[in-house]
Symmetry: none
DNA sequence: GTGGTCTAGACCACG
DNA sequence: GTGGTCTAGACCACA
């Protein structure tokens, strides 16, 4: 079962954070078709958020065809977003963890790391796929 | 000179994106104290954004003591945010790039990668510093 | 509840006047931590000012850690700025009022009085604390 | 000869500060008709301000008929703004100084005092002249 | 030309 | 109904 976490201050709308987290979990295979999302009440009890906001997030996900709400029962995953084999992903994750250790030992804090990653990924994308954004 | 880029759709307020990008550049040493940020009008001419929004971002940065705006002249970097030596950072970036290549070869797209990174960093943080942020 | 008043013509930015008035009230204990500031819309309905301008003032105060805005609820005082006991302050105010009466009887108008006060306070400060603000 | 002082951060336009200070001096009799204001260059050499800004202030004062500029010579006071006898004013100033001492001994800082004064004067005005601001 | 400010009016996220 | 944000367009003070 996915566990939500909200970060205030980021300026990202809470409902968007939930949507994003579900999508992430779908991409990583942490959430499989058929699996149930926590009920609105469960989320509320754990994350300090307004029920309406949770509902809005679920509605958004349903609108995108990723989940399905069965009234009175709950919300269920409808579609997967995994692109690669779990094994490959696990291997990549393992290497990434090692890299993270190094970064931490080099005295970079989480935000430094995030900045470095964002910047490098961006640079990588530019090189990799110079898609014409006419 | 830093170059801004806006990503609509993310749900993140444009002015926050600018703030974030400046902070990132400061962390990566791409922006040094004394250096000038592009003028509001320059940003506007390149990024399709309202001058007020850019001003808002710059003002936010000024409030945080990171930049200083000198009316009639421009906005300048006041404080650095670099934590580690450029060499170390470069080494880390290099390794990260290699990892990114692998990930791409494993058919993960940018969003998969971002999801994997976010998830792994989060997991890493939990293990590393279980600080109680009561 | 604090009541704002704007003075055009002074050349002081309206949002700064609001900021100043809140700070004054905080110094005088007229505004206590936990107390709510009038909502943006309330201010607008009474003071002939643009909502954005009020927001700007409130945001400035929030940046200084004096108030806290809770979206969807309102803006609340977070920190006090009182330096002296209410009794002492009241005594001083009483004496000051008597002085004001005398000044008025001497045919000084408000602006004369303000000028005299500003000038005397300035002179007083010079004598009292010749701090070198190099 | 009047001595100007600029306070950044107040949000008051520098040229307005100069205008204001001249008016104050006129009200207090510190500047008499016929007396010369410092030349633009003199002001610039002491106050870190742009010559244009000083000129603007003087122009404003001339426009209000308070001073007169004699090209090539200087700017001279044309009109007085004193309302009361110097003796009376001196007496009031003396009493005010004593009040200021008390206030300082009561641990109020300059800004507290200014706040208290502004607030009390305002309250006083309300009582004294309930002029119809229809 | 630079940043700073204001108004007007609009939409959004949240409670 | 609350604050938060954005756009559009305008004027000002300053270098």
């Amino acid at each position: 079962m996915i566990e939500f976490h909200l970060e205030k201050r980021t300026g990202v709308a809470p409902y968007m954070q939930l949507v994003h987290q579900v999508k992430q979990a779908l991409r990583l295979g942490l959430l499989q078709p058929g699996e149930q999302l926590p009920t609105v009440r469960e989320v509320v009890s754990k994350v300090a958020i307004n029920p309406n906001t949770v509902s809005k997030a679920y509605r958004e996900l349903e609108h995108e065809g990723l989940v399905e709400s069965r009234p009175g029962i709950g919300t269920f995953v409808k579609k997967s977003l995994v692109n690669s084999s779990p094994d490959l992903q696990e291997a990549l994750r393992h290497e990434l963890l090692q890299w993270l250790y190094k970064a931490f030992e080099a005295d970079l804090d989480s935000e430094d790391i995030a900045a470095l990653f964002a910047n490098t990924l961006r640079q990588f994308q530019k090189e990799e796929k110079p898609t014409h954004t006419s």
